[in-house]
């Protein structure tokens, strides 16, 4: 089977969908000839033309707002925001507008719009580029929030997003863009929303993560195995919808849970996971659910990002502490 990294998987998903559905179009900054600053849209303008692969003016609110309008006209826009942190410039068009449009129109209209954006630390980006603000959109109901962690899911979840009649925010872990290739089939396939993946099955502790933090948890699980601790790694894949069932089942199996995310701790989505476990499986917990997250300060200068982001050490420490409780 063909091997692809995440950039290639995304590129392939876009090409497949544009091929099979003439309504699908791509718009955003530098998505045309440049192929996007990370090359996720490379080759698309050559293949599908400048009417369907559109370099827009530098204005995020209008990229998102126009996508809403394009969808109402019957197009299926896939908008790229150059970095997730710059959704802030179009924030009012995302949660409040895209997320509410079906409701506001009493069901007359819906918005089949996908907004893609890379994010996350680990590549020494300048300020704002690394901000992991996914939880902010969970507080904007109506928007689905999708967080792929690997090439196979990246393609399948993106196709699912494009086909979803409702708006989807699809966040790409830039640190893992070219981290490695794995099997990604040719041709369209989907990975359903709201189904978490058990990417490693263990018995002692459940590590819960999404996006690039899954990779960190996998490495941590290896180390824990050396210490005789067998860890499950659960990849949530989507935050909205949330797979409460699998989450609870996998935590109940081990009785212990550590949540890892790259966003700041306070009001990060890890809090929702912990609160959900509190409500659903309190009596089956053998230890308090722990969180390992970035600190409650803004993303620092690139030279400091290794200290800021959840480290292997911090994950291991939390897992060990959880095991001792």
């Amino acid at each position: 089977m063909p091997q692809r990294n995440i950039v290639e998987a995304i590129n392939n998903a876009l090409a497949d969908e544009m091929e099979s559905d003439p309504r699908v179009m791509v718009l955003g900054l530098d998505v045309g000839k440049l192929g996007g600053v990370f090359r996720t849209t490379s080759g698309l303008v050559e293949r599908f033309g400048a009417e369907r692969v559109v370099d827009t003016p530098l204005a995020e609110a209008s990229i998102i707002g126009a996508s809403l309008g394009l969808a109402l006209a019957g197009m299926v826009p896939v908008a790229e925001i150059q970095f997730l942190g710059f959704t802030a410039q179009g924030f009012h068009q995302l949660g409040p507008q895209l997320g509410k449009y079906r409701q506001r129109s009493r069901g007359r209209y819906h918005c089949q719009v996908t907004v893609r954006a890379p994010f996350g630390g680990g590549i020494r980006s300048p300020e704002f580029h690394s901000d992991a603000v996914e939880a902010q959109f969970v507080q904007s109901p109506g928007i689905k929030v999708v967080m792929p962690s690997n090439p196979y899911d990246a393609k399948g979840l993106l196709i699912e997003a494009i086909r979803d009649p409702d708006p989807v925010l699809y966040c790409e872990p830039d640190r893992l863009y070219r981290a490695g290739r794995s099997e990604v089939p040719d041709g369209p396939y989907t990975v359903p929303f709201g189904k978490a993946a058990v990417v490693r099955q263990g018995e002692d502790v459940t590590l819960v993560a999404w996006s690039a933090a899954v990779e960190l948890c996998m490495r941590a699980a290896e180390k824990l195995a050396d210490e005789g601790v067998s860890a499950t790694v659960l990849d949530l894949r989507t935050l909205v919808p949330l797979d409460v069932e699998t989450l609870c089942a996998e935590v109940v199996k081990t009785g212990r849970c550590v949540i890892v995310h790259e966003a700041p701790l306070s009001a990060g989505f890890g809090a929702e996971i912990s609160a959900t476990l509190m409500e659903e499986v309190f009596y089956e917990l053998d230890a308090p659910v722990a969180r390992v997250a970035a600190y409650d300060v803004p993303f620092p200068a690139a030279s400091l990002e290794d200290y800021y982001l959840p480290s292997m050490d911090r994950v291991l420490t939390a897992a060990r502490r959880t095991m001792q409780s």
Binding site: A61, S62, G65, A66, G69, A73, Q97, R102, Q103
Partner: protein, 357 residues
């Protein structure tokens, strides 16, 4: 050497003067029959405002922003687009424009009464929902116009914005993008001199909002917004241009908000009564009536008859809307997702069960 001196407006389009005469040398596309129709809609709009404000005072209507004083802008612009193929993207003060465009009055009324299903814009009616978030409709309207062209349709989009809304970032981004993609769209700016209590002078130092069009590479025109003939003509030009591939236009209709901002507002706190009195002398409805009277097409009798007829029409819509099904608790969850996530379904059951007992 300065490129863009803040110069006086070269010409505000004007046809029908406040005294009901035609400006010298001016001509309008509007013929008499058509003007009578315009008058009918303008009167309907004002009468609806009056009735609804009375109802609101009795607690029987939601927060409402009347179009009083702006009827020439609202109706003149709406008459320039074709409900069968063109789209209308409103802000909130042009209710009667959307009705002219095919949205049943009882439907939009039902929305103000908090109804859900009865407030749904019927399929086929090419009107987007009222937008409360100022200027957010503009990038959306640009996208809609752009998409319609991509889909090969023959449609034009008209979208509304106020003098206040012209200050939002969305205004700029939407117009600039529309210029770049040459979207078939008309940006219709109702400069009614007020954004709640904030006067036009505070909103911008520009001598004319229409000047901004040059900064986006398309035509801008200023028109007497209390002159239904001039508004109609300017809007027709813009629609035609858009339909022929000539891209967007910006029309600034200079008018006056002859009522409060909305039913929670009290303009006496900030408005100079003299300014208001002056504005009344430029009433958009009276000048049409005077003009038609001059042609022998209007008199007190006709006015009384129409008023009664239109009141009755409005009343029927109001009663129809009032009688429509009230929302049910579970409507909280209606129309959010095509397929609600399990967690939302669980919340829905919780609400329904809770409401049951």
């Amino acid at each position: 050497m300065a490129l863009s001196k803040n110069r006086p407006v070269q010409g505000r389009r004007s046809v029908l003067l406040p005294d009901g005469t035609i400006a010298s040398g001016a001509k309008s596309r509007m013929e008499e029959e058509f003007l009578l129709d315009a008058l009918r809609w303008m009167m309907k709009s004002r009468l609806y405002d009056q009735r609804v404000i009375a109802l609101q005072r009795q607690g029987q209507f939601g927060v409402f922003s009347p179009g009083t004083g702006q009827e020439a802008s609202i109706i003149g612009s709406a008459m320039a687009v074709d409900p069968a193929r063109d789209w209308m993207v409103p802000q909130y003060r042009e209710l009667m424009a959307t009705v002219h465009h095919g949205l049943p009055l009882e439907v939009i009324t039902a929305q103000y009464l908090g109804k859900i299903a009865p407030g749904r814009i019927p399929d086929g009616v090419k009107v987007l929902p009222t937008q409360v978030s100022i200027a957010a409709q503009l990038p959306q309207a640009t996208g809609l116009a752009w998409g319609l062209r991509l889909r090969g349709e023959d449609s034009v989009v008209i979208t509304y914005i106020g003098d206040g809304g012209s200050s939002e970032g969305d205004f700029h981004e939407a117009l600039n993008l529309a210029g770049v993609v040459r979207a078939p769209i008309v940006f219709f700016l109702q400069n009614n001199q007020w954004a709640i209590s904030t006067s036009r002078r505070v909103q911008s130092a520009t001598s004319s909002f229409a000047l901004r069009a040059a900064g986006y590479g398309f035509e801008g025109v200023e028109v007497d917004g209390n002159d239904v003939m001039a508004v109609y003509d300017a809007a027709c030009d813009a629609v035609q241009r858009a339909r022929n591939g000539g891209g967007p236009s910006l029309i600034e209709a200079v008018t006056y908000r002859m009522s409060f901002h909305n039913t929670t507002d009290n303009p006496s706190r900030y408005q100079d009564p003299k300014e208001f009195e002056e504005a009344r002398t430029r009433d958009p409805i009276e000048r049409v009536q005077k003009f038609l009277a001059g042609l022998g097409l209007w008199d007190a009798k006709r006015e009384a008859a129409w008023t009664e007829e239109l009141r009755e029409e409005n009343e029927q819509a109001l009663q129809h809307a009032a009688g429509a099904a009230a929302p049910r608790p579970e409507d909280v969850f209606a129309n959010v997702y095509q397929e609600p996530p399990p967690r939302v379904l669980r919340q829905r059951s919780e609400l329904v069960d809770g409401a049951r007992g």
